[in-house]
Symmetry: C2
Subunit: 294 residues, 2 copies
């Protein structure tokens, strides 16, 4: 009988983390502090509105304050910067983010840099990215931090393991590498970062004890690219057309899940793997910021 | 006849860079700007004083202003912070650094964070480290930048190559990885970062097209750890006892040079490899800062 990989249940692990965060929220409220997360959304991108609603709902469920600021698609950069300034100064807002993508008249880089690093819920401000690489306490990038927690809480400590990351985005690949190479509990991995310019990719991915796919291409990682017994973390979320589905599409990751399941020891599904972790870590960031602001 | 690796001549390449920097200094002076680099040294560490003199001499040779601030070993943190503040505000000082190591009453982290990132000659401020990882223009860390220039100017473009870095320091290993994974000219490498917790190290280093040793252990990298035809960059500078030498010691790198020379296609010597590059890149940083301040 062929072995089938164990599922790493992101929903369940994220629920555990949310429960832990809830306990912290409750403790803070007894001290008269209600952690607050604000989200700024500019324009009408439907997927962004879905994400923002998800974030607000997560706040509600944990008893946190959530503040959603909707700006029209034609809002000026100045207007967004003014709002960022106000949120930086608002004591009720302990952390916030500006949902991407932004309309093209707005320089996303400029917006991120205007956010007070102490309130930078996404961990995207250069000073937080720098601290992450240096190994200092910082606001953590949510998706990489979620990947690390998924590994640790499913018995796959990356210490001493060879982690191969496919993808070098600023949101996932680069900060995840920065996180996992640290001389620190839950890190200490040997890390290889691969990308579009990598040669003989499969010969590298096949060495991974832990393989992370974050390249944004549906089912890019084939079964033949995975070592027998590896742990596979699939960060991708891609819509592929599927007429049999009432929505007309289905979600797939960056990994050929079926083939990978026959090789891997453990694997995250899409959806229900990394996705729920990102929001849980965002909540954790907001509460950590509220504690520090105390 | 056994092949012997080509020497990558850091002295010669550093001299080319200094000549380029000199031309920029001359051009700036015609506009009435003399680039200025300040160095702060606290205490009596003899090696630090040698480094600081070398930096000041390099400034002199390029016609730049150099300012050396010597503080006693018992200087308070407050005194160093006050000096940093003054240098941040001094228009004649375009870039500066505080020489490490610092006496133990002074928190080096705090000092680095007090430096204006625009004047951060070493590129150690978290905001510069973050920009480096994100891929934005930043003050570059001198030794990693010097390694990159050594590669590019000796015909060893890292693009598409597998670079294995042994060592994860904040001064070399981590920022060099950040630099070489970028989607950018002179980068685009597949990068693996190894360290004390890496298992089967030799099996990884033997895959390197470009192997960088920055671990701080004399002759740690043996010939057997190097792939035939690899390029070897030795960042280490270690004193080992040598009674036959009038100084009582000699300098060796982190690579067993003799054995490595028989395997590698090209290799940097110690001294005369990475060392001279670090100072050349420091000068380049100071001049770049002067140009931006213009």
């Amino acid at each position: 009988m062929p072995k089938i990989a164990r599922l790493i249940d992101g929903k369940k692990i994220a629920a555990q983390i949310r429960a832990e965060v809830k306990a912290e929220v409750d403790a803070l409220k007894k001290q008269g502090i209600t952690p607050g997360l604000a989200v700024v959304i500019v324009g009408d991108d439907p997927a962004s509105h879905v994400y923002v609603r998800g974030k607000a709902r997560a706040c509600d469920e944990l008893g946190m304050n959530s503040f959603v600021h909707k700006l029209p698609a034609n809002a000026t950069e100045r207007r967004v910067l003014n709002l960022v300034k106000r949120l930086n100064e608002d004591p009720k807002v302990h952390a916030f983010l500006v949902q991407s993508p932004l309309p093209k008249q707005i320089d996303e880089n400029k917006i991120v840099k205007a956010i007070d690093p102490a309130k930078d819920a996404d961990g995207f401000h250069p000073v937080n990215v720098g601290k992450l690489l240096i190994g200092e306490p910082a606001m953590m990038p949510c998706t990489p931090h979620g990947c690390q927690e998924l590994l640790l809480r499913s018995g796959c400590n990356p210490a001493g393991k060879h982690v191969v990351i496919v993808g070098r985005s600023n949101i996932v690949g680069k900060p995840l590498a920065a996180l996992l190479i640290q001389k620190a509990e839950g890190a200490n991995a040997t890390v290889t970062i691969c990308h579009s310019r990598t040669k003989k990719l499969a010969s590298i991915t096949k060495q991974a004890d832990i393989l992370v796919a974050a390249i944004g291409v549906p089912e890019f990682v084939k079964g033949s690219m995975i070592k027998e017994g590896a742990v596979v973390i699939d960060v991708g979320v891609n819509r592929v057309e599927d007429k049999s589905n009432p929505r007309g599409y289905r979600l797939v990751g960056d990994v050929d899940f079926k083939a990978a399941s026959k090789k891997a020891r453990a694997i995250t599904p899409v959806p229900g793997g990394v996705g729920p972790m990102t929001i849980a870590m965002l909540m954790q960031n907001a509460v950590a910021a509220a504690k520090r602001a105390r």
